[in-house]
Symmetry: C2
Subunit: 330 residues, 2 copies
């Protein structure tokens, strides 16, 4: 569990507003509920006292609320459900429209569908600890500028002090775990890697295609360690990774976004492959570096990533942020 916890960190650090809910789903195994449960639950929230809105997203139509259920701390997560194609004809037939405005060929309406066609998915965490509340609370993020010197004097010592376990990565590389999930491997110790679907992708549709290439070499922590020496490794990942995705999923390289994160979620070099049309968490310019640009930069300047100032976002509660503050760099 500690191992998979590391990978969830990536989700928690990402920008997706539904990340908390994602994790809840993972924690929860679907149980059949009895009739008694049904009756007890029906009015569970009727006396809910709201204490605070932890976060909400107008874009994703969700809200995370902290409050009390019968004197117990609770977090309630509401999210409207997607509009299903197979419910459209009933929706059109049985809903009333209220005109809002009309202009030329355009008009807008308020539509009030029957309750059974317009559900809100509700997740309750109860009793909730302070840790739960903190997890769901939207954290401010700050953009840091890290010089090469900052990396060596602040970031690197911080990474080393954290002694994150990479055992789960080594388990994958040594086929001690997730061997059945690997979709391609180049076993070469210098330029080799394994390619497997990211946990966020269920492989059911290509819309949100997401794979990760993890290198066999254990001596490259991140983008910061890359020099022109690593160009053959990076070119190999790009070419063979794209080929493998084309072969396995029929998904062409021209529709892929191939990039590294800085800071990464774990300090063993890995590369993200996501569908260009998927707004993947962490693909923003403040954290992602296109592999093709990384290769070009190293070709033109072997020590590019040792010497440049790199920007990256950090959540307010990230320990690295305090280190930058302590060093008077923020």
């Amino acid at each position: 569990m500690a191992d998979s916890g590391k990978r969830k960190r990536e989700v928690v650090d990402g920008n997706s507003e539904t990340e908390g809910q994602e994790e809840t789903r993972k924690n929860a195994v679907c149980n059949e509920a009895g009739d008694n449960d049904d009756v007890a639950s029906e009015f569970l929230l009727s006396g809910f006292e709201t204490k605070a809105i932890l976060r909400d997203s107008a874009r994703e139509k969700n809200i995370f609320v902290h409050g009390k259920i019968d004197d117990q701390e609770a977090v309630v997560i509401l999210e409207k459900t997607p509009i299903r194609e197979d419910s459209l004809s009933e929706l059109f037939k049985n809903s009333r429209l209220k005109l809002e405005m009309r202009n030329d060929i355009y008009s807008t309406y308020h539509l009030h569908p029957p309750p059974h066609l317009n559900e809100i998915k509700t997740t309750v965490v109860c009793p909730a600890t302070e840790k739960h509340v903190k997890k769901y609370l939207l954290q401010e993020t700050f953009l840091l500028e890290e010089t090469g010197e900052d990396y060596r004097s602040i970031t690197l010592p911080f990474i080393q002090s954290q002694s994150f376990s990479l055992q789960w990565v080594y388990n994958i590389l040594e086929k001690k775990a997730e061997a059945d999930r690997i979709i391609y491997e180049d076993p070469d110790p210098e330029v080799g890697f394994v390619l497997l679907p990211d946990f966020k992708w269920d492989q059911k549709q290509h819309d949100d295609l997401y794979l990760i290439a993890i290198v066999h070499r254990k001596d490259i922590k991140s983008l910061r360690d890359l020099t022109s020496e690593h160009i053959p490794l990076l070119c190999n990942i790009r070419r063979r990774g794209e080929d493998a995705i084309q072969k396995r999923y029929g998904f062409p390289a021209t529709k892929l976004r191939v990039y590294l994160h800085y800071q990464p979620s774990y300090y063993h070099l890995h590369v993200h492959f996501t569908s260009l049309s998927y707004d993947a968490p962490g693909c923003g310019v403040e954290r992602a570096h296109l592999l093709s640009n990384v290769i070009q930069n190293l070709q033109n300047e072997p020590q590019y990533y040792h010497s440049r100032t790199l920007s990256f976002p950090l959540r307010a509660d990230d320990g690295l942020l305090s280190r930058f503050k302590d060093a008077g760099r923020l």
Copy 2:
């Protein structure tokens, strides 16, 4: 209208799933509707025949449907409304929950709120032309790799052949339009610029803060034209833009993402300032270039953006894509 049409292109080219709806809202001026209209509209969609789903987003809870209303072509856009904080207590009091599963402290439910608390915003375009249908249809996007030579032999001639009007930009710079929207100006002809809120931002909250700096110089089309000569201009935009946003909105530079697009929506140099916590359309690594990186790259290599291969996404219906295909570059 032609002028503002140019700026809408930016929305249409972006990745936001709601872009079509955005534009509809802009086209439509809010009219008061009479009682007769109300009655006529109430059942407008009851006989709607669906022909095709043009696009939908499970994340944003919307769907774009092509079909017929009384033998007329129509596009209907449905989008669930955000969950409002001020409706929560009524929602909790008056909704029934149906237990889905329970596991330890986690449980999930189906919640069916009363119709008046759970609206779907509906937009109807009728009669709709083929152009409307095409506009709302989700277009595939492809990642292009443009070398410096490709730019000069394919992209630049294409841009010139399009003769996009930049009159709306000049109107802003000369205070013939939108003068009241400008929040800061440096009038210097070499390093000066105007800063104003992007149309996508209503300035009501900082969550989706979005401003644009437009340079006074008229001879810089895009990132591709930048050389070390322009470093003072770029540094000036960054420093004074950040200062102006801090002064006007109390919003600090450490929470800003400052970047250029390549390709841009219009070929007059401009810089985007967005809130780091806002997942702005077009802030992905495949299209955005952090201003701080651009400055560094030019400091280290004066002709960086003339010589490098740059990647960018193009929609399947973009004329530039055909040019790359015709040149055998795709």
